[in-house]
Symmetry: C2
Subunit: 468 residues, 2 copies
């Protein structure tokens, strides 16, 4: 049976929760007294409906039913989960919990999005404190998986387990915080970084943009895939975490920060860190961790390059300095239209190049040919282009991540609206790895219909028809 979540308090966080539940097939009841709430939640839902399904290689369940309610009681009466995301004022939250508990089923889970309050503070004098726990999300809630799940001794373990199971079923990661503490875990780090950033700006050391770049071009990339300790374990090399702390530890005595209250690095603390790190990562050698880290970073950097964002934009700029733009006409025989390496994101989990990427290779080779016959970006901007209408690919040899290859291409037909290109993909030893026979049609981008090539383009294309 379809389950129901009540979202108490909309806005960016409540809207994000609504999207997570809704797009995973739950019915949603929303209560927010803000007259503008519907518009705000719709904006979040629009973002979520675009982004969340793209994460998956299968369809998400059919969306549940979305209902805006006039009262908390309407919203929570049939709820299996109640998520509170009202402003961070304890008396307000306690009042909201009281109203929720007057109307919701006693078996429902009541999660709070609070980033600062401890669950015991929220439970306070509630009639059924055992229902209330912290489930703290991170913005955008519809994409980031982390949820800090913080219960107290008053929450029955079965209910905590059930909360954990439901969050997992929404694609989230419940990080069970075993000891309650102000700001839980993640926000303590965010707070530390925020304070350091305020000092750097106040003291005119760096601007907001310089600080952002210091993060996203460096350790931000590392932390997207491994956290602090696994990263440092690698930095310690074969000698591991203990060695890293011994190297890095003395810096704690340096005046590197105004945040100076530092625990003593006793043998006991070092042992604790080293043994926790062993339990976390000890099943992998440092070489294995390095390889994992590097492959993750390559995948992330290439994803950012495709978006022209962050460090990916740097890569894209650098790449333009590495390869001269293809010249009009053909200067070499055979004509080399690709010269590169198979990247990790083109490979299956077994390390072989995915068969669909042969099409990528030939599509990129065709782009190179297009520039040579005058169908470059300026030509496209002026309103005409070529569309591939058919490609016949023969797969001859397997390729693997890191393998260098080149492509030889020649035009086999160029008349009217048609250009046909024959591509061969070759290893550095000259073995043919695959071939592609590609038919492109010249189109008007206004009418989206085919149209004849201009005469000079036919002439340039014909010049590329000779034997290779």
């Amino acid at each position: 049976m379809t389950k129901t979540a009540a979202i108490i308090g909309g806005g960016v966080i409540g809207g994000g929760w609504a999207a997570r539940f809704l797009l995973n097939g739950w019915n949603i009841n929303i209560f927010d007294p803000d007259p503008d709430a519907k518009r705000k939640i719709d904006a979040v839902l629009t973002n979520a409906r675009y982004a969340l399904p793209m994460l998956y290689d299968v369809a998400l369940p059919a969306e549940g039913k979305l209902t805006f309610c006039d009262t908390i009681s309407d919203a929570v009466t049939t709820a299996d989960w109640v998520q509170e995301s009202v402003p961070e004022r304890l008396p307000l939250k306690r009042k909201v919990f009281q109203t929720i508990q007057e109307h919701c089923p006693p078996g429902a889970i009541i999660g709070s999005s609070t980033s600062g309050f401890k669950p015991s503070q929220l439970q306070g004098c509630a009639s059924r404190p055992e229902q209330i726990m912290v489930t703290h999300p991170f913005n955008p809630v519809y994409l980031l998986p982390l949820i800090e799940l913080v219960p107290t001794a008053k929450n029955p373990p079965e209910l905590v387990a059930q909360a954990s199971e439901i969050l997992t079923s929404l694609g989230m990661h419940p990080l069970h915080v075993r000891a309650e503490i102000d700001a839980h875990i993640a926000d303590r780090f965010l707070e530390a970084v925020w304070r350091e950033a305020l000092w750097l700006i106040k003291d005119d050391i760096a601007t907001t943009e310089e600080i952002d770049n210091a993060i996203r071009y460096g350790f931000g990339l590392r932390w997207a895939q491994m956290g602090l300790f696994e990263t440092y374990r690698i930095a310690g090399g074969e000698a591991g975490m203990r060695h890293f702390i011994e190297q890095f530890g003395p810096c704690l005595d340096w005046p590197w920060t105004k945040l100076m209250d530092v625990p003593d690095l006793t043998d006991e603390l070092i042992d604790k860190i080293a043994s926790q790190s062993d339990a976390q990562s000890g099943m992998h050698t440092i070489r294995e961790l390095e390889r994992q880290r590097d492959e993750n970073l390559v995948g992330i950097l290439r994803a950012l390059k495709a978006r022209d964002a962050g460090a990916g934009a740097l890569l894209k700029n650098h790449e333009t300095t590495l390869a001269p733009a293809p010249a009009t006409g053909c200067t070499t025989r055979p004509l080399i239209t690709q010269n590169r390496t198979v990247p990790i994101d083109w490979t299956d989990y077994n390390g072989h190049m995915n068969e669909s990427r042969y099409g990528q290779v030939f599509s990129d080779a065709a782009d190179n040919i297009m520039v040579r016959i005058g169908a470059d970006q300026a030509y496209i901007n002026a309103g005409s282009s070529f569309f591939t209408v058919e490609i016949d690919i023969k797969f001859l040899m397997e390729c693997h991540a890191g393998q260098s290859f080149r492509v030889h291409s020649r035009i086999t037909e160029a008349a009217g609206k048609k250009v046909r290109i024959f591509h061969e993909m070759l290893s550095t030893d000259g073995e043919v790895l695959a071939s592609g026979d590609q038919l492109l049609l010249h189109v008007s981008l206004q009418t989206r219909r085919t149209s004849p090539m201009p005469a000079d383009m036919v002439a340039k294309a014909s010049a590329l028809m000779g034997d290779n």
Copy 2:
């Protein structure tokens, strides 16, 4: 003419520098008194030669020449750039600079990898302080672009500009740190986070693994693409940075951290942050920034899913709960072999699905068929599989990011070692977007040669041959 870099001090950092220069076409002279230096640097170079070229869609320049030198003087005599990465002891570094300067060209740049010392400390009593500046990299140096470039007033601006240009030509981002400060910029954040982490472990709040997960499933993903301030600008909504600080600012007074020395949030400081943030991001609306953030996050998360790493591993697990495994035999007519959305990483910069991804769609559809005829993972593990040897794709309509589609597939030939599948990719309205005619051969994975299908597989495949 090929330029030469001298790497003084090998290890992980020096080795990473060597790789950056070498793989960008520079000659490298390495000096490290450690008898094990060559082995250590070879290990870093092996990693770099695998990972760095994969970032690019073109070939890198031919590698320069790598020379191990017995003395600093041999290494630096002809150097255009000297990179010092010796242990973090100031007297040692000063002694090394003295020897370097006795032998290197006076116009060469001498960069120090120091994470802690200020450039004025390094310049100290050097004979030519104007040559020495901090160029602080981040591990792995061959993949992460950030370099903190910290000069002093003694460095001529032309030399700083030249250093910046050279670093950019290596694919790095020189972050010019305008005011020298202990630990520069990034390590101040790393230090703050490290201290907070030590407290959390000492106080038994979290383990190393829980801390790593709190980072890599949450804010680590955000920081890989936008930093602290652009992320918070979005959180502030249309009201922007000032609103965010006013919301978040009061938390500074809460006991969230033991790192308590906090600057006063004066109007002056708030104005400074808000105006710097406007200069950084004010050309984009919050909606545009949200879209950029979400597309970046989708790209990163999908890259991690392909590596089965970090938050991508969570996604992969969640996905298995969303789609039942295909059943043997055909239960529906037409047989639906794909049902999903076009993700952002399948699209060109104009938002249209890249032509090569049609091949991906049909390859995934074929995987679904394979399971239905019994060629599942267990069958592959037992030593046989199918290889696609040819596919003929007809491209009929354009597709865009976020578009839902399904694929109908039917087997058109199943005999001996051959299976032929005809796929149609359809929009939700039932329009045919593309078709694929795919020929697969049954192979033995031991001999890598074709072999006949077993009789029961032919029977299962034949059952899928009816009209759709």
